[in-house]
Subunit: 287 residues, 2 copies
DNA sequence: CTGCACTATGAATCGCTAA
DNA sequence: GTTAGCGATTCATAGTGCA
């Protein structure tokens, strides 16, 4: 069984314990900005960038050159406006040395109902992808999705246009190198992720559903790679990382969260010491 | 029939002809950076903000205090990174006096295919909502969508094909026969819009499908209100505005586009002079 | 009018090579 | 060095025509 390292404490301080260039994937959902001063994790919107930059500097240090940082974030509405701290954060992180490679959209399908006089329900969040360099590890085949039904009839006989487009040098498009398409059942996904928010978890509200970190962990890491979540909360990404055989590192300042994740990820430790290989093999079908 | 004002020329110069506080809704899709070079000359990503700010200043001037500005835009990839001109534009427009009220996501279900070593297909674009003040006109009831339960049971009785065809209807409420759903259980939509790009239309490529401007025009204006598109292109928003009885103002620098939109929006002018009411009524089924 | 097959096409990006 | 051009790669949808 792969290791799990859990740290109880402030993200900035605990990150100092990690070595340079040691993490393959950072995926986290930091505490959202909050105007209430004294709630857990609440950072005032106007101070958000200032608060996060030292942390992202540490993250830049611990991430391998080929690694990826996925930041789940969404700006709050303040005084009827979307606050700009996320935009400013992206610009500031670029100055820090990060590359803003991509922005995925998480479309939350079963978002809670609600109505406001001049605003609809907010059913999406940003999943910002940052990298240290243009070349990074990505295992696209691990997250392929079934093609639409259209493919069955469509690929049986390519249309006139499909063939013509192949000949035409100007128009690019479907039909080039048709051999690639014979028997193709799966397609590459897009940068929009449709996932319902988790509602089955009774005891705690997870930041995101398991499928979300699972998707990114499969996309950006191999078995045995290291996944870091510096704001693990209820530990969804840590738990998923363990399940699919990644080395997980989790940090949280809240003792209840820390204990809960520790318990969940260290079940029957003594028993498993001798049986880890077997356990790991059997556990594969669980995903 | 409501008026249509078309201007042939540069957006910045033609906007000067419009009066202060005279427009209820601005909806436009300006040329993206380095895109559409043949018609708009192509704006370099690094100069995009600088190029757009004088235009947005004019837009701020002509928009009514209760009006809304919807800006359709997406940053392109430059050297493996998402360029930051859109983020910078939002920050700069706020300094200009705009409020960044909301960001809708347009999920383009049929995006262009493609595969790259470190990137998936880009299936979404931003629809930035800007306002002059916190209180603006919004007619939320005009864009309600059928609710889950009822839609599910109703659709289950339909054939496989119908089900597939109507999926978009259920998700987004942008179905054509939306009137059939009125009186059923309706819900307010979200800030994620699921719509395919237009694909059947030969001869001209529209920036967005008709249902997109239609949705925003219904949401932010009443009959007789004024809708402005300073980069009308093939005129989708102008045409829709006319169809649903809004006063439309369109600007484009390209003579072919101008002529095409003029022809399309001024059919059989002489005949219609006497029969405009009848024509308008009959024309409803055209959509 | 419905069901089905067929067709056209959409704001793309990367890496290599030539100038 | 720097840029510009071009080949290679890749899906999903709506409209049309016809039985």
């Amino acid at each position: 069984m792969v290791d799990i390292d859990l740290y109880l404490g402030d993200a900035l301080q605990e990150l100092a314990h990690l070595e340079d260039n040691s993490v393959d994937l950072i995926i986290t959902s930091p505490p959202y900005a909050d105007q209430r001063k004294h709630t857990y994790g609440g950072i005032h919107p106007d101070e958000y960038v200032e608060w996060f930059l030292p942390i992202s500097e540490q993250l830049l240090r611990v991430l391998k050159p080929t690694g990826t940082f996925i930041l789940n974030i969404k700006e709050r509405v303040v005084s009827g406006e979307r606050h700009t701290y996320v935009l400013e954060l992206i610009l500031a992180m670029r100055k820090q040395g990060w590359l803003w490679t991509e922005e995925f959209i998480w479309h939350k399908k079963n978002c809670y109902p609600g109505k406001w006089p001049n605003r609809f329900r907010d059913t999406w969040e940003r999943l910002l992808q940052f990298n240290k360099q243009r070349q990074f590890k990505m295992y696209q085949e691990e997250v392929m999705v079934p093609m639409g039904d259209w493919a069955q009839t469509r690929l049986r006989k390519l249309s006139e246009t499909d063939l013509r487009r192949d000949e035409s040098k100007v128009e690019s498009g479907f039909g080039k190198n048709i051999s690639n398409w014979i028997g193709r059942r799966m397609a590459y996904p897009t940068n929009v992720l449709h996932m319902a928010t988790e509602c089955g978890n009774r005891n705690h509200s997870a930041a995101f559903p398991e499928r979300l970190p699972e998707w990114f962990i499969n996309l950006f890491t191999e078995e045995g790679d290291t996944v870091l979540d510096p704001f693990m909360g209820s530990g969804t990404s840590i738990y998923v990382a363990q399940r699919i055989q990644r080395h997980a590192i989790g940090i949280d300042i809240n003792h209840d969260y820390y204990s809960m994740v520790y318990e969940a990820t260290h079940p029957k430790q003594a028993f498993l010491c001798e049986e880890e290989k077997t356990y790991a093999a059997n556990n594969h079908s669980k995903g």
